[in-house]
């Protein structure tokens, strides 16, 4: 239940209208609320992972554009840059990139369907314990498919990278 506990100043001399004191919005959780995966179940975990993988992939994308720019400095610069990914740490990082991109893609497709109203079910009478029909098995199975495909892609990537790339 949403409770407003901020101050509303009704007696301000400068503004006779309602003035909301934004500094006293104690119901605002900010990043802590954003990162809390416990309150809303698996849908919250999906929300959280979609954003974290998105940020991670954006950082990787910027790094990848910078990394490939070493091409223009010749073969030695390219080889030196490539060596960074030829270590165990580099391989693990690339496996994480593969997992993050697979999850982000599959879950993103699920979200596109969800936001266009597909697979949400029909609205029902709100009976106790008030489970929303939108958070149904279709949505949850989409989320599990995203996790499973990400794991499979990571295993395939690990196989290619740790087998020497042959």
């Amino acid at each position: 239940m949403f409770l407003w506990r901020g101050n509303i100043d009704m007696t301000s001399a400068t503004s006779p209208a309602k003035r909301i004191d934004n500094n006293n919005r104690i119901n605002r959780e900010g990043l802590r609320g954003w990162l809390n995966p416990l309150r809303y179940g698996w849908e919250r975990v999906s929300y959280w992972f979609q954003r974290l993988t998105g940020i991670f992939l954006l950082v990787y994308f910027i790094g990848h554009v910078y990394e490939t720019s070493s091409l223009v400095s010749g073969p030695d610069a390219w080889a030196a840059m490539l060596e960074m990914t030829q270590t165990i740490g580099g391989h693990l990082f690339l496996i994480l990139v593969i997992g993050a991109s697979t999850f982000h893609t599959v879950n993103g497709i699920r979200l596109i369907f969800t936001e266009s109203g597909q697979g949400l079910g029909k609205p029902g009478r709100p009976d106790y314990p008030y489970d929303p029909t939108s958070l149904n098995n279709k949505q949850r199975s989409g989320l599990w498919i995203a996790f499973i495909l990400a794991a499979v892609a990571m295993l395939y990537g690990a196989n290619v990278l740790f087998s020497g790339g042959d």
Partner: protein, 138 residues
């Protein structure tokens, strides 16, 4: 009209211009976000497949990579990946940042910063594609 009034009037005009900088509705921006995401899926799939048509290590050798860049179609594919992911990624970052905080200054600052970063990364990546496309192997 005093000089202070003239300055204030100029400031108001500048502020109004900045507030009108939003050319698209959020619903339209989100459609662009989805379209760029789905399109990026296809072009990135081709980009990865190009690494797997020969042994992975061999495909990353300098000569092979330069040969890829010298192919005009592949260069265009790389450019499209660059543009699509830059738009999708930086808009995603914008959405996350706007979810965390909602004030006018923050929203305008975030909008302007992500546009600058997007243009910067596209320009830098395009530079690499153009130079690598013109590189001679001999």
């Amino acid at each position: 009209m005093t000089s202070d009034n003239i300055k204030n009037s100029k400031n108001k005009k500048t502020t109004k211009w900045i507030s009108n900088i939003t050319l698209l509705r959020e619903s339209q921006i989100m459609k662009i976000h989805y379209i760029t995401g789905v399109a990026a899926l296809f072009v990135v799939a081709i980009h990865i497949l190009m690494r797997l048509i020969m042994p992975f290590n061999m495909s990353l050798e300098f000569e092979n990579v330069i040969l890829n860049y010298k192919n005009v179609f592949y260069a265009l594919l790389l450019e499209s990946i660059l543009v699509l992911i830059a738009i999708h990624g930086f808009n995603g970052l914008r959405v996350i940042l706007l979810e965390i905080r909602q004030t006018q200054i923050w929203e305008r600052g975030v909008n302007i910063l992500v546009i600058i970063a997007m243009i910067g990364i596209i320009a830098y990546g395009t530079r690499t594609i153009i130079i690598a496309n013109g590189l001679s192997l001999g």
